[in-house]
Amino acid sequence: MASVDEALKRVAKGAEAELFLQSLWLGKPILVKRRGEKKYRLSELDQSIRQYRTIHEAEIIHRAKEAGVSTPIIYLVDVPGTTIYMEYVEGKVIRKILDDLPEEKRISLFRRIGNLVGNLHMAGIVHGDLTTSNMILTKGDRIYFVDFGLAELTREVEKRGVDLHLMKHMLMSTHYRYAEECFLSFLEGYRGAMGEEATAEIIGKIDEIERRGRYVSEREILEDGDNQPK
């Protein structure tokens, strides 16, 4: 694909993949997502991780659409080249605009995000990397989910719980000033899609995950009466 490559302009370099903007294809700008070689990984391991993620991502991006969640249109999947050619979604990355939004806007945005994540979960898709860097708000006020590189097809409550836990965790590390209000509205939207019962079960799961191993906080232990000082 040498001739195609020449027209490429790199627009972003993530940790996992590089994104290139190809000027025009059938009159539209094309986003090229290439999982480049990781020199620090053993090549055998590296190749299998990259190929698996390329195929998987393309498949899940398609399934998300069936669940009513906006994702880029896929034009071509080049498996040996570990590259996906897809629609370039024009809009703003939510992570970048969040600080400038008024509170009520932020809350309604997170309610919608929660609802969309609920739709994904209902369809058996767990995103695996729910961060505001992976969500784009278009001019037409649509929320696009763009990175399904770590997504999984599963209906396990555990996996869904981890998904929401990661969302909460991301909010606390990146948007700590208003993490709580955002997560509460997120859950409200999520409940709208998943229903009261399933949501309660998953929230219980988040608590369980946070109580596990590294996530236990001091307070909970002291309340349990354990760990009393000598």
């Binding site: 729910l130 981890v162 001091e218 000082p229």
Partner: protein
């Protein structure tokens, strides 16, 4: 202002350490005594018993190494958590006694924060993204707005624990991880093992289980398994660290904790830092392993920024999370 001396006691797990640091950033002493289990892993009560038997001589050794007497100490710091309860209590008890006896203030230090701070001091790094990997911890962290935020961590067992248990089950001599590293160099064939990265977090328990199953099946060369478990575990660490580096845009990458001694992991981190235009640092082994100097130095930083803890409130905090600590000295 005169130089201030802080005595630090570390006792979160199998290592008992006593260090002495000065407010000029000098480490005057860093002495350690390690509990070695007769078989199996660390038994918290046995480790605590070792610590209480050894604390006198380790304290003496640290003071004589520093060339000071007890009366020269201005502050006493101890590792308050996270760690094994019985071990923490032993160190805390000694720290309280020394502080009361000398009539000096007491400071409780978070063990993970101490690893970062001593690494920063040794590397002269300003604002690094830190990968802290040991038998008890697996954390990718960086400073942001008053705290060390956790960008990624293990959802189950720490990476050092995964490697240690595998080495032990494979019958490698104690301590297992260095021997595992040597054997990995002779690995030729990669054995596929579960690679589990969930967002920014990691899971090593499945990797360990699968590697142990393959070990017991007797169908694989031990060297190949050693290489593969290391490659998979470190690639996972690499992936999460790389993402955190890209996400935060930090320009320094600091590797610390016992697993930082692994040359293969060091090489991986160097490559990642280079790729993202960051400088990479490896904490020298003396300060990368659990040690008293890191507690002394961090205790001093906290003390100078106004932190004290009354003896009556100096409970140990066995599950004290890194991101709960207010990093008052960087604000």
């Amino acid at each position: 202002m005169d130089e201030i001396l802080c005595l630090g006691i570390e006792s979160t797990a199998d290592d008992l350490g006593v260090g002495i640091a000065t407010s000029e950033g000098m480490i005057l002493a860093n002495k350690r005594s390690t509990y070695i289990p007769e078989k199996g892993g660390i038994h918290p009560r046995e480790a605590a018993r070792h610590h209480s038997a050894q604390i006198g001589s380790v304290l003496d050794a640290a003071l004589s190494k520093a060339g000071i007497g007890p009366k020269d100490i201005d502050v006493v710091a101890f590792s308050q958590g996270p760690g094994m309860g019985p071990c923490l209590r032993t160190g805390a008890t000694v720290a309280r006694a020394v502080a009361i006896y000398l009539g000096v203030p007491l400071v409780g230090v978070n063990h993970a924060v101490a690893h970062i701070e001593i690494g920063r001091l040794a590397a002269k790094a300003k604002d690094p993204l830190t990968l802290f990997v040991s038998g008890g911890n697996t954390i990718v962290t960086g400073y942001e707005a008053g705290r060390y935020r956790i960008f990624g961590e293990t959802l189950d067992i720490p990476v050092g624990n995964c490697l240690d248990v595998f080495a032990r089950e494979a019958g490698l001599p104690y301590p297992g991880a260095p021997d595992l590293e040597r054997r990995a160099l002779e690995g030729k064939r990669f054995v596929p093992l579960p690679y589990l990265v969930k967002g920014m977090d990691l899971s090593f328990s499945g990797l360990l289980t699968s590697a142990l199953e393959k070990l017991r099946s007797g169908q694989w060369r031990l060297e190949d398994l050693c290489m593969s478990i290391q490659e998979v575990a470190f690639s996972m660490l690499g992936e999460v660290t790389e993402r955190a580096l890209a996400h935060t845009g930090k320009l320094e990458l600091l590797l610390t904790g016992g697993v930082a001694a692994n040359k293969r992991l060091q090489a991986i981190m160097r490559m990642i830092a280079e790729e993202h235009g960051a400088k990479s640092y490896v904490t020298p082994l003396e300060y990368a392993l659990d040690n008293g100097a890191m507690i002394a130095w961090t205790g001093l930083l906290a003390y100078l920024s106004g932190v004290r803890i009354p003896v009556s409130e100096s409970f140990i905090r066995a599950r004290w999370r890194l991101d709960e600590v207010e990093v008052t000295w960087l604000q």
